[in-house]
């Protein structure tokens, strides 16, 4: 152990501890900007680049970055001497000297770490005037890059390269021209970007934001010729409250429905309905593959991988295209919803396809891209017209002058608003596979589950494995969240070392609760865990907790689809995947 003094107080820490962590032990919060620590997710980003966390160390000539300087025995540190305070302010002034002054109209205004820090440091003028770096803005279907606002904290690089292993972003060029960009400074749309949005989720400024569809939505809601239908993903209800000052983990399902109705949607439905439908299709596909496998069919592809997450789908299409016959062919719940809404439900309300607008509210940035995929369009008309994020919904509610906290609790409309507890847990890592197991077990064994909760599938570890007893047959299940973890499981499969029958993969940390479209966690991983807890609480409180018992789903099959994996179901609810690997060198 090492003993040191910080602001005249003594603290003992282990060798290798940084000044930042030692100070934290004394409840001294040293301000940071580029630093990021996502605790349980095992991501610590400490490039020591922004210099906001500098402190004075006795005997050291220059100031030391607290996030990247290790403590030594007898060290004497001052975290708020006049020299430190002046240096921090100067650092901020220098960063701001190469930053646009458009705070008033910036998408991140009010939610920006740089703005907060400027306020905290009392910056009142920018004494350094000179050239500003400018870059061409990059508009992809999901993410907007405005690198004029980049402060080179490089958190996005850590998420993209280390956590997700997608490797699209890198610091390029040098000195004043330095910027974070894809290879050859191409647009994201011409890179291997999966649109997972984790770069957006950690960007401290307005450099990385999502594509905003709220203006389009307001226009559609005001159009009397259009029937506007909304679906809300499970993870949204566990996070939306945060935007209105509620504790992380507060469930706001009923208030959210009330707000959507007041915004003017004609039908307020639930993606959870489609999640139950996903289980019917994906669960049946899994049972089918398992039955064939256990019957001795060596051609059958196992493990089966889930396919709900569009970031994950992009990932394997780019990085593992030769394995694209392994994931389930089931479309994501968002897309199943759209396909059913514009056929089955459109018929019910006697509305033509092009008079209906299907909007989704998603915790996700990649869903914006997913809606635009050609295979999810009929004669150019998309099954889901566009997707807005949890953040965009919060903004719309505020803009519409609603007091969210005092709204009544209302129920979703029927039939596509009816759902089970199994559907709700789609919002967290481990949830999709637990929902699948609940139904697959009962359908396979013909027995009713004594205990609906599969605790062995739950948790926050990046890679988890568990087995479930299917009446004498052991079903081995793998779970990964974060694409870096998914890559490990995929490489095992490729090498023939995978022992799983089924694997659930979600691109974001914690699953959709930690999605790129959620209210910003500002580096606090406890928020993601609180949302996860809320999701399981909603499940536990549901009267029906197994997808195959959802009455509206049963009716949908009776009236329209026939049975799972029927021809109609294949046409509307399944998809195929593409080889998107960047063609390397073209040789003769």
């Amino acid at each position: 152990m090492i003993k040191l003094t910080i602001d005249s107080r003594t603290v003992e820490v282990e060798k290798g501890t940084t000044i930042f962590h030692a100070a934290k032990k004394l409840d001294i919060e040293i301000p940071t900007l580029c630093y990021m620590n996502l605790g349980d997710l095992k991501i610590e980003h400490k490039p020591g680049g922004c210099r906001v966390c500098v402190v004075e160390v006795e005997g050291r000539r220059n100031l030391a970055p607290a996030c990247a300087t290790e403590c030594f025995d007898g060290m004497v540190v001052q975290t708020h001497s006049i020299r430190v305070l002046n240096a921090r302010k100067t650092v901020l002034e220098l960063i701001l000297s190469d930053h646009p002054f458009d705070c008033l109209i910036c998408a991140k205004s009010g939610n920006c770490d740089l703005q907060d820090m400027a306020i905290k440091m009392g910056v009142r003028s920018i004494p350094y005037q000179g050239e500003k770096s400018t870059y061409k803005p990059d508009f992809s279907p999901a993410i907007i890059r405005d690198m004029d606002k980049c402060i080179m904290c490089r958190r996005c690089e850590t998420m993209c390269n280390d956590f997700q292993t997608v490797g699209v972003l890198s610091g390029v060029n040098r000195g004043f021209e330095a910027v974070v960009a894809p290879a050859f400074e191409r647009d994201l749309d011409h890179s291997e970007c999966t649109y997972c949005g984790q770069c957006v989720a950690v960007c401290p400024t307005g450099a990385l934001t999502e594509v905003d569809h709220t203006t389009q939505l307001i226009r559609d809601l005001a159009d009397p010729e259009k029937k506007v239908v909304v679906q809300t993903a499970p993870a949204v209800r566990a996070a939306l409250g945060e935007a209105f000052g509620m504790e992380p983990g507060t469930l706001v399902t009923g208030k959210m429905v009330a707000a959507l109705r007041r915004l003017g949607f004609d039908y307020v439905f639930d993606t959870d309905f489609a999640a139950d439908l996903t289980i019917m299709e994906e669960g049946t596909e899994l049972l089918d593959r398992l039955t064939r496998f256990l019957g001795g069919d060596k051609q059958v592809k196992l493990p089966m991988l889930t396919s709900c997450c569009p970031g994950w789908v992009n990932f394997f299409e780019y990085h593992f295209p030769d394995m694209r016959d392994i994931p389930s062919t089931a479309r994501s719940p968002q897309q199943m919803f759209g396909a059913v809404a514009k056929t089955y439900f459109a018929d019910k309300i006697d509305t033509k396809r092009d008079e209906m607008v299907v909007v989704s509210v998603m915790p996700c940035v990649a869903k914006k891209y997913e809606c635009t995929r050609e295979e999810f369009k009929v004669n150019g008309n998309p099954d889901v017209d566009y997707s807005i994020s949890t953040r965009e919904l919060a903004m719309l509610i505020k803009r519409s002058n609603m007091d969210f906290n005092s709204l009544p609790e209302e129920d979703f409309d029927k039939p596509m608003g009816e759902s089970t507890g199994a559907a709700v847990i789609f919002g967290t890592t481990g949830g999709v596979i637990e929902a699948a197991v609940r139904s697959a077990y009962e359908i396979h064994t013909g027995k009713s589950l004594k205990k609906i909760d599969f605790e062995q599938l739950r948790g926050i570890e990046g890679i988890r494995s568990a087995s479930v007893d299917f009446d004498g047959v052991e079903i081995r299940i793998g779970i990964a969240h974060g694409l870096g973890h998914a890559r490990k499981l995929l490489e095992d499969i490729k090498a023939g070392n995978s022992e799983y029958h089924a694997i659930e993969i979600m691109a974001c940390p914690g699953g959709c609760v930690g999605g790129g479209g959620q209210p910003l966690h500002h580096g606090n991983p406890q928020i993601i865990k609180a949302r996860q807890k809320a999701i399981y609480a909603e499940d536990a409180g549901k009267p029906i907790r197994k997808s195959h018992e959802n009455p509206s789903i049963i009716k949908l099959y009776e009236e329209f689809l026939g049975k799972p994996m029927s021809e109609k179901a294949h046409e509307l609810l399944h998809t195929k995947y593409f080889d998107k690997k960047m063609k390397d060198v073209l040789l003769d």
Binding site: S170, V172, N173, F184, R186, M582, D584, V585, L586, L587
Partner: protein, 163 residues
Amino acid sequence: MTSIKLKLKESEVQQLKEAASSFNNEPGELINVLHKAQEIFGYLPAEVQEVVAQEMNVSVAKVYGVVTFYSFFTMLPKGRYPISICTGTACYVRGAEKVLEEFKRILKVPVGETTPDGKFSITCLRCVGACGLAPVVMVGDKTYGRVTTDGVKDILKEYEDAE
């Protein structure tokens, strides 16, 4: 970025792959492999960087980051007679800047680029260890010392009929 893909020579790609494997395809050896790649191809176009990324098991973005960070690496093909003007301290104080301007004026290309006929390219470098001869200019492997602005056209003349 142009959308026209450059076709690399199979034999040169093979050479590059061998170079990468001589460094055990270790990601930490990226800079060394890029040096070799530039030796083989003369410059580092996107297509070469893609091969390097694949061989070294690092992302193309990362390779591009390194290539754009170090001024030694170039993504533009060099001329058949690459002109390097030393702008190190000694050469600079003895008028390298003016010499550079004269090359740019006569050849009508900025630093880092190549004349349209592919004959000359201009780059700057920092100190070739011949400060006694400052200002120093190199054309290929040949060194010219105490170069004056008037001397620039004489140097270029030497290569006029070289082909």
